[in-house]
């Protein structure tokens, strides 16, 4: 499974006339990140950290990386903040239009394919790793992974972003098919916390959203309420 593994890029500046302007203002804004999405019977749970960095400066420590694409379809963004915001806006527009034409709520698979179409066509210019997750009447809860390069694959559970490397082992050992909604929330919270502890580009708060037939339920877990592990 390809991983949208992101390392922040620190450019080495040797010239001295850049002393007047801080280093971080010359760096690209990146959501070096940890994102996760899990399917359960009846919906999906999505989660993300909340750190956006420009170089070593944290430009936003309370970012919302869980972006609404449609009523029951969200995406988790990792990579370049600008690229992912732009793609998400384009796809929201396209999906909204498509849904009106269809006179029906759109399918998660359709949203995922729209993301893939943009990410693949402009793969040389973009740096975007996206998880598309939501609920529709046809297939229930679904998670689709669109990593850098523009692949598309459906998976029961998926992680992305620079922090994701550290939690593959945890995810493999703790996920089982048939988890309940609360177990998925617990798994996501723990996984994101572990990644945030190890990855310098991930941190802040944990944002979660549960998407099901009944709607979208969002919550935030603040720093002091995150689970604690014995090595910390």
């Amino acid at each position: 499974m390809a991983a949208a593994s992101m390392m922040p890029i620190f450019s080495q500046n040797v010239s001295s006339n850049s002393d007047l302007v801080p280093e971080w203002s010359r760096q690209e804004v990146s959501t070096g990140t940890t994102i996760m999405a899990v399917e359960y019977d009846g919906g999906v749970v999505v989660g993300a950290d909340s750190r956006t960095t420009t170089g070593a400066y944290i430009a936003n420590r309370v970012t919302d990386k869980l972006t609404r694409i449609h009523d029951r379809i969200y995406c988790c963004r990792s990579g370049s903040a600008a690229d992912t915001q732009a793609i998400a806006e384009v796809v929201s527009y396209q999906l909204g239009f498509h849904s009106i034409e269809l006179d029906e709520p759109p399918l998660v698979e359709t949203a995922a394919h729209l993301f893939r179409a943009s990410c693949y066509r402009y793969r040389e210019e973009l740096m975007a790793g996206i998880l598309v997750a939501g609920w529709d009447r046809r297939k229930g809860g679904q998670v689709y992974c669109v990593p850098i390069g523009g692949m598309l694959v459906r998976q029961p559970v998926s992680v992305g972003g620079s922090g994701s490397s550290y939690i593959y082992g945890f995810m493999d050992s703790n996920y089982k098919p048939g988890l309940s909604k609360d177990q998925c929330l617990d798994l996501t919270t723990k996984a994101l916390t572990l990644a945030m502890e190890r990855d310098g580009s991930s941190g802040g708060v944990v944002r979660l959203a549960t998407i099901s037939e009944d709607g979208v339920e969002r919550r935030v877990i603040l720093g002091d309420q995150l689970p604690k592990f014995s090595t910390h």
């Binding site: 593959y168 995810m171 502890e197 014995s230 090595t231």
Partner: protein, 217 residues
Amino acid sequence: MLGEEAEPQWISEEVKTGTTIIAIEFNGGVVLGSDSRVSAGDSVVNRVMNKLSPLHDKIYCALSGSAADAQTIAEMVNYQLDVHSLEIDEDPQVRSAATLVKNISYKYKEELSAHLIVAGWDRRDGGQVFATLGGLLTRQPFAIGGSGSSYVYGFVDAEYRRGMTKEECQKFVVNTLALAMNRDGSSGGVAYIVTIDEHSTDEKVILGNDLPTFFDQ
């Protein structure tokens, strides 16, 4: 231009033990574990290499990074430790072995690219694990290293508890290795486990199909 390679990659590529290694301390000893894959570029040049190398009867080190560098450091320290233990006329301390490794790793840090985890048992402090990455020396309750370790930081952070028994530590090591070997392309093959305590040094191999499996297998 014809895109045919003049020679296969493995002839020119450096041989690396892109790897997963782990060592963990329990009350009365240590458990070390490693995978068995050695790669040169895309080729696996040895699929059954034991990366747990003895430095002394009750002190082992786990090798990762450049295979040549790691093996050379281990051999040098093995020799130095033999001499040292003759001079003091008793079994060497784990800390001494780790310091010898650290001295080489630090002095030649620009030239070498290997990371050794040193673990063992001695009479003075019981089971100990030392990390020597980049030339530092630090004692830890457990240590992981190698390319595959990135994937299991979350797992070990979540699963480690203080005061685990020997059997729990062995299971912990096997699970960690299996998870890392599943995700890291540079780790694989079989798992080697070494358990060192006051009474014995026990080496074990776990073949591929006997390793624990997870939900997607």
